[in-house]
Symmetry: C2
Subunit: 195 residues, 2 copies
């Protein structure tokens, strides 16, 4: 909604909310292959042209709904240390992404192609969560890499294994990748932030 | 073809070749959204049920054709050193995968879901090429990581950026990832091979 520069709760926001809800209801009821834009429009009480104008096609709409679902509903648990915070967060992340619903989310997002604004929101959720963990660690005086280093070193291999196979994404794999990321010289340095 | 355990050039192999060729012709002529299984069957001179029986659905067929296209037609260039071999190979890999046809291949492969045999062939092509570079380096007496380490450290972040955005996959990015991967603390050790 914010991306439209519109006031939250405005007409555009209400349209998006009801269309997203219609997609979730219909896919739950009929499964994704059974859903069409005219069905979504009827369920949401808008015209099909409203949906085509705003989302382009069904793939774009499904991808937006999937990105919404990727938005975490809690901030990362504070275990008191960087490594244990990352172990816990990534174990849950890998579990969610490799689950049936997680794979469907990834499939919907990728099927629509890399639309920059959507991908920025999608990756933004992960970066925000990691920065939260890294800020806490930095405040405790721990040395921390840039979130970008954790994306390349941990997030990317986890998603590669989920999308292309080639190995489990269990706690052992995640913690090995986390320790590699934290041990490495030559990582992108984190911007210093004034609190 | 080999995966079917059939003699190359056998009936099954000929069916696969003509169906794949029909897909390539039709997608080139009409674009992927325009192609249907009955059209492919007509173009290939087989019955639609032959295609449904063997590939399940259009997504599975398009994914198989895409995996075929990922098969490299040359072995990696020998520049005389591990780092320069990897720099050259990954620069070409990133260029190909981020091109329009490369993105279409990835999209087709991912749309069909992680069918283990298909994914094994797909990732196998990359592993074979990397092992070829690593074997040459080991034969020169250079220290080499496991191909799996290069998949996690270099291939995965390249594909993450291509699929989810979040940065260029230029030569600078590839060579930075390669150098991180070769600084080997905590990397999986490569199995020693008797020549």
């Amino acid at each position: 909604m914010a991306k439209d520069g519109l006031r939250p709760g405005g007409r555009s926001a209400r349209v998006q909310a009801s269309v997203h809800q219609a997609v979730r209801r219909l896919t739950a009821r009929l499964g994704r292959p059974g859903v069409t834009i005219p069905m979504v429009a009827a369920e949401a009480g808008v015209t099909p042209s409203t949906i085509y104008r705003r989302w382009g096609d069904l793939a774009g709409l499904l991808a937006d709904v999937a990105v919404e679902r990727m938005q975490p509903d809690t901030m990362p648990v504070d275990t008191g240390g960087l490594v244990t915070d990352l172990d816990l967060w990534f174990e849950q992340y890998a579990e969610e992404m490799s689950s049936g619903p997680g794979r469907d989310m990834l499939k919907d997002i990728l099927a629509a192609g890399p639309e920059p604004d959507r991908m920025a929101r999608c990756c933004g959720y992960t970066t925000t969560q990691l920065d939260h963990i890294l800020d806490r660690a930095a405040a405790r005086g721990e040395a921390v890499p840039a979130a970008a280093a954790l994306i390349d070193d941990v997030v990317a291999p986890i998603l590669y294994r989920i999308l292309f196979g080639g190995g489990p994404v269990d706690a052992a794999f995640c913690s090995a990748r986390i320790r590699l990321a934290l041990a490495r010289d030559g990582q992108p340095q984190r911007q210093h932030r004034t609190p």
